[in-house]
């Protein structure tokens, strides 16, 4: 091994100075575009719209059997908030990094002069706005069907608009938060990320979130329902309820702050994890 001398600028076509590396935002935009392009052409592109159409279909069917009004909408909104808002962002984002490792395509991206975190953030930004739009539309159409079916009508619909506003707020805040959390868990556990995310949701949303304890504050689903004011949270506490431990309450704005905080913290966690991780897919 010879002693290293001063590095050389090679001659030839490669000798010109390379362009400035793309800024972080530009790299994010490129990867967002690439992800959207791939998603649009993937065979799985119909899954999210099909699932988002299900509650609309269910509302229509239930309306045909004589159910209507706010009660019907609240039940359908439970499906949005307990399933779709949790599941669709998880499905889209849990394997954002894992997919690249599984297919070894990260080698093309992480050997570019762009910050590594532009990959997960680009994918996040490719998925979250479209999911928010899709689920908001699903909520709004379900609302319209439930509130326009006779004997309800435009008057009821107008009166209940605040409920729609709260539901949409839950979707707009919930999808980014769940997506960021799924992205973080998937980045930490890139092997079987969706299983980890679903296991986490089962533990936190299913178990801790349904106990009559302060642990409900850990569950994103609880905050979503708190913002939308649906389910048990919308009902006044019964006289028989035990005080202290069982009645956990938080203003909807507090829940909104929690969701925003989770979103930001999770995204920072993702960026931090990816920037220094070594991904080894084979030798």
């Amino acid at each position: 091994m010879s002693a290293a001398t001063a590095p050389v600028q090679p001659a030839g076509p490669a000798s010109g100075r390379p362009p400035e590396p793309p800024g972080a935002l530009r790299a994010v935009a490129i990867l967002r575009r690439l992800t959207r392009l791939r998603r649009r052409r993937a065979a799985s592109r119909w899954i999210a719209p099909a699932l988002a159409a299900l509650p609309v279909l269910a509302t229509g069917l239930l309306a045909l059997t004589g159910r209507w009004g706010r009660d019907l909408f609240d039940h359908i909104l439970e499906f949005h908030l307990r399933f779709l808002v949790l599941f669709l962002p998880a499905l889209a984002l849990a394997d954002a990094v894992a997919e690249e490792i599984e297919q070894q395509t990260f080698t093309f991206l992480f050997t570019r002069p762009a910050p590594r975190w532009s990959l997960p953030i680009g994918k996040y930004l490719a998925s979250v706005p479209s999911l928010v739009g899709l689920l908001s539309a699903s909520v709004a159409v379900s609302f319209a069907i439930a509130l326009l079916v006779p004997p309800a009508g435009p008057r009821e619909l107008w009166n209940e608009l605040p409920a729609l506003g709260r539901a949409l707020a839950a979707v707009v805040l919930g999808v980014p938060a769940v997506g960021a959390l799924a992205l973080l868990l998937g980045t930490w556990f890139p092997r079987h990320p969706l299983v980890v995310v679903l296991g986490f949701f089962f533990l936190v949303e299913g178990v801790l979130g349904s106990l009559p304890l302060l642990t409900v504050l850990l569950a994103l689903g609880w905050h979503l329902r708190n913002i939308a004011q649906v389910g048990a949270l919308a009902e006044p506490p019964a006289a028989t309820d035990l005080p202290a431990l069982t009645t956990v309450s938080l203003p909807p704005l507090g829940s909104a702050a929690v969701l925003l905080g989770v979103t930001l913290l999770a995204l920072v966690g993702v960026c931090w994890t990816v920037r220094s991780a070594e991904y080894r897919a084979g030798r």
Binding site: E78, D95, H192, L194
Partner: protein
């Protein structure tokens, strides 16, 4: 061009029967599946959880023993023997761990082979596609059964070990292992078959596992919402967990399994059967259409 004899002698010794080679696929799939760290986690958590239930069973037996005859009913102490079924069908039992195991082992089994071009390792030799299917399905069922049947049988053994001559009816206790085994195997197959079927649809593990989650949670939640609105059990007919609850309620003679609006057990069993048979048919169709190609 001439072919020269270089002294090649084909193997003429004994070989295993062509109809039992699924056993090789089973062993290989099971070994690979259970080697995954998350599968070990699911198995361990399921085991710990089942032991917790065994302690609960022991305590409820002690409670019954310490109460005067007839007072047990007033105290609404559940039949400890039925816990062997409850642990299989209620969400706070072991179905979540069994479901995770089905996702981990079954959800990736054919998808991984397709993605890694491993079909050629199987189908370039005298192994039929049905043999491959049986091996994959049996391995996934067995992996799930390690949790579901394992937990249920642990409770059965706990209950049998607390047998008290004179006060315990013998026949229900003799039938208890049979019932628990039947329900446990049905649950294992009901979880494993759709997982393997979905695994044959896409090489992407994440999509398969997502499909599996949707298949189980979506009809359960939609069914529960519709049942709550219509006060009618039929919307739950497509929910695998509701189907298992209905069959469990019938097997263990405990109506509390099936909730406020119990689903009739026979249609539930029918849908479970259709799901299992349909899943197997789907995998067969997919495998029959599979060409072994690289890249």
């Amino acid at each position: 061009m001439s072919i020269r004899d270089q002294g090649y002698q084909p193997y003429r010794g004994p070989r295993t029967s062509a109809t039992t080679r699924w056993g090789v696929v089973l062993r290989h799939t099971l070994r690979m599946g259970l080697r995954q760290p998350w599968a070990i986690v699911a198995l361990s958590l399921g085991g710990v959880w089942a032991m917790g239930w065994a302690v609960a069973l022991y305590l409820s037996m002690r409670l019954i023993a310490s109460t005067p005859p007839g007072a047990g009913n007033e105290l609404a102490i559940p039949d400890p023997a039925a816990l062997a079924g409850t642990i299989l069908v209620r969400w706070y039992g072991v179905p979540v761990f069994a479901f995770l195991m089905a996702m981990l082992v079954g959800g990736s089994t054919i998808a991984d082979d397709r993605r890694q071009n491993a079909f050629s390792f199987y189908f370039a030799r005298s192994l039929g596609r049905d043999q491959y299917l049986i091996g994959k399905l049996a391995a996934t069922t067995l992996a799930v059964a390690l949790i579901s049947v394992g937990a249920s049988m642990l409770l059965v053994l706990s209950r049998l070990s607390l047998y008290r001559a004179g006060s315990d009816a013998v026949l229900p206790l003799v039938l208890l292992p049979v019932r628990a085994l039947a329900l446990g195997l049905l649950e294992s197959l009901a979880l494993a078959a759709p997982a393997v079927a979905l695994s044959s649809l896409s090489p992407r593990r994440g999509l398969v596992q997502g499909g599996m989650a949707a298949l189980f949670f979506l009809p359960a939640l939609l069914g529960a919402i519709a049942t709550s609105l219509t006060r009618n059990p039929w919307p739950q007919l497509l929910s695998p967990m509701a189907q298992l609850e209905a069959v469990g309620a019938r097997l263990f003679g405990d109506a509390s399994f099936a909730g406020e609006y119990p689903l009739p057990w026979l249609p539930a069993l029918g849908v479970l059967g259709v799901t299992i048979v349909g899943s197997v048919a789907l995998v067969r169709w997919r495998l029959a259409a599979t060409e072994v190609v690289a890249g």
